[in-house]
Symmetry: C2
Subunit: 224 residues, 2 copies
């Protein structure tokens, strides 16, 4: 009997120890989360989800980040498009890309929009593999915590779209992922806002002058 | 018996008449086809299929033509992307667009690449419907016969990609068509070659300077 009481006391003791430990872990994770949010919000301003399609529609070269098995990665991408205003975005991440497994398994990513001052760096990111290195470190990119996905935002970029994979029906045949944008961030302080476009032949075209034709957009008044 | 012979003679007579008629129709269609080819080849030069993805990758605003039930149509499109080099292209044609039924039923279309001198016209094409008018006539566009699809090329555009729909799995949910480019034409005489990009807000950005970064494209040497 004393032996039994002894065991019960031990069990109660371990139970409370575990509870206190879990409580502290939880507190820590809340503190970390709060800090993370603040850090992101210091650099980026939230943009309405309904505005995010405007970042993709012009067809700029973008960066795509992932986080998988404790490792972040970033790749350069120029095969992507809007498919709905909400926004829903389609993109191709090739099975040869190191990011392929990460996006397929985690079903999460961030699309970051770089500007012309980052052009050479962005091209270089697209000409090496995350399998061999930590690309954030190598290219001196600052990862910021996203709010709804595990993939990081990139502080140096003009904008970041947190995305979840919502349809994988065309992944096997075409490596085509359907993403839903769930949170969008933009850097309001950034002066350089011109993006650039891949020519597919190793040349890149920088945004030139912008022409305002809003008055002619009679059919699309509710969207623009 | 004379009655029977009479009927047989009639049958033979009608058989030969039909054969001669069909032969002439066939000849006419060959002649027409030859003329059509020549007319197209006068304006456009064939481009290797493997080069066509370079027309889509920069993300320019494009025109999409269809032909259905004896009527041609053209719409403006900025939601499209490469998904393979062969080329395979994804695009969104909304079910609200007059072209939707035509592309869905015929499984054929042409993607034409306009340049900056056509910008206002291209925007206006996107702000009216083929249900109400003949857009080729209204916008003074010259249709040229394609070689492998019934949809017309546009003589005024820099390039034209004849496409066949090869996958409709995502049409019902996202209006997303997967196209295979089967023939590509480019106008070698055209001086203006700058395209333009939709900002999604009624503004359009013209191609600026082009930067040659071929030397950095170490991973993509075989494609560019």
């Amino acid at each position: 009997m004393p032996h039994l009481i002894n065991n019960t006391t031990k069990a109660v003791f371990y139970f409370y120890c575990t509870k206190v430990l879990l409580y502290n872990l939880n507190i820590n994770s809340i503190i970390k989360r709060t800090n993370m949010k603040t850090e992101t919000q210091k650099n980026m301003k939230e943009l309405e989800l309904s505005q995010a399609f405007k970042l993709i529609e012009p067809g700029p070269v973008v960066l795509l980040t992932t986080a998988h098995k404790g490792k972040m990665n970033v790749m350069t991408m120029s095969w992507h498009m809007d498919i709905d205003f909400t926004p829903i975005i389609a993109c191709v991440v090739s099975e040869g890309d190191y990011s392929f497994e990460a996006i397929r398994k985690t079903k999460q990513c961030v699309i970051a929009i770089p500007t012309v001052d980052m052009m050479k760096k962005v091209v270089d990111i697209g000409n090496c593999s995350g399998a061999d290195m930590d690309k954030f470190k190598k290219f001196n990119l600052t990862p910021l915590p996203a709010q709804k996905v595990s993939a990081p935002l990139i502080a140096e970029c003009l904008a970041n779209i947190e995305c979840r994979v919502i349809d994988t029906r065309l992944v096997n045949k075409y490596n085509l992922f359907i993403l839903e944008g769930v949170k969008v961030w933009i850097d309001p302080k950034r002066k350089e806002r011109r993006t650039f476009h891949a020519g597919g032949d190793g040349t890149f075209t920088v945004d030139g002058r912008t022409v305002d034709l809003k008055k002619r957009m009679t059919k699309w008044k509710d969207v623009i």
